[in-house]
């Protein structure tokens, strides 16, 4: 029987307002993933996804939050990452998640790349509420 860390079921909110917060968010995400028993490889995927999502917040909205929490599905454990901002929203969601698309001169890997490395990917975006991306990664 695995001993439960008291903080495994907590929810962590990392405010993201500058590029330095991207590093903080991904370190917190990796730490939670490791506490949940993710392998180093899986934890790296989680950290990489957080990095991309946090950068989107800084780049397009200026500031927002990365919320991290654990989840279960029967005996399976997973990690949920919510990236939310109150920025201008994404005008063409279909285009934004298409591979190779970028408005910022980046590689265009941001959202499509994140979608590839997680198990579940949801995005809600509009002009009033900004953008919320919710991703889930299950432990193998």
């Amino acid at each position: 029987m695995r001993e439960q860390h008291p903080d495994v079921d907590a929810e962590y909110c990392v405010p993201v307002a500058s590029v330095n917060d991207i590093v903080t968010a991904r370190l917190q995400g990796r730490a939670l993933a490791e506490r949940l028993g993710f392998s180093p490889g899986e934890a790296t995927l989680v950290a990489t996804a957080i990095s991309e999502l946090a950068r989107n917040i800084v780049q397009y909205a200026g500031n927002g939050d990365i919320v991290l929490r654990s989840t279960t599905n029967g005996t399976r454990r997973g990690i949920v990452v919510v990236a939310r901002d109150r920025g201008p929203g994404i005008s063409d969601l279909k285009l934004a998640v298409r591979s190779g698309y970028s408005t910022s001169g980046g590689l265009g890997l941001g959202l499509p790349g994140v979608r590839r490395i997680v198990d579940d990917f949801q995005i809600v975006s509009n002009r009033q509420d900004g953008t919320t991306v919710t991703v889930t990664k299950w432990r193998f």
């Binding site: 990796r30 490889g41 790296t44 990489t48 980046g106 590689l107 890997l109 790349g113 590839r116 490395i117």
Partner: protein
């Protein structure tokens, strides 16, 4: 956090020590471009062994560094990409196209030595 850059004969060796912010990466880029000229270096090694994530921005910056350094007349080799990091990069769709990589510092130095020898031998 600043990345120390060591000058070793005709090479520059930048060893990344911890997670880097976007700004740190751009500072590294500027410092390497400047030092290649100052020390008339022929090769640059960027050691990323300590990096736990190479996301799209970091990868693009490393690629830019390699291309800029090449325009300055020197070769760059990225060494120490960790197995999990390499796996995540491929999953994310990142390629370091036209950027030389090597397993570790030793292999990186051997690569540069060989590359420069070839350059000298060419007619």
């Amino acid at each position: 956090m600043a990345v120390p850059i060591l000058k070793q004969s005709q090479y520059l060796i930048a060893t990344i020590q911890s997670a880097l912010s976007d700004e740190d990466l751009l500072v590294l880029q500027a410092a390497l471009v400047e030092k290649v000229g100052k020390f008339r270096s022929r090769g640059v090694i960027v050691d990323v062994t300590a990096l736990d994530v190479l996301d799209s921005f970091a990868s693009r910056t490393l690629r830019d560094i390699a291309h800029i350094i090449r325009l300055r007349g020197a070769e760059t080799v990225i060494v120490g990409v960790q197995p999990e990091v390499a796996f995540a990069m491929v999953q994310l769709g990142i390629t370091l196209e036209k950027v030389s990589t090597a397993l570790d510092l030793e292999e990186g130095l051997a690569y540069l030595d060989q590359k420069l020898q070839h350059a000298r031998a060419a007619p």
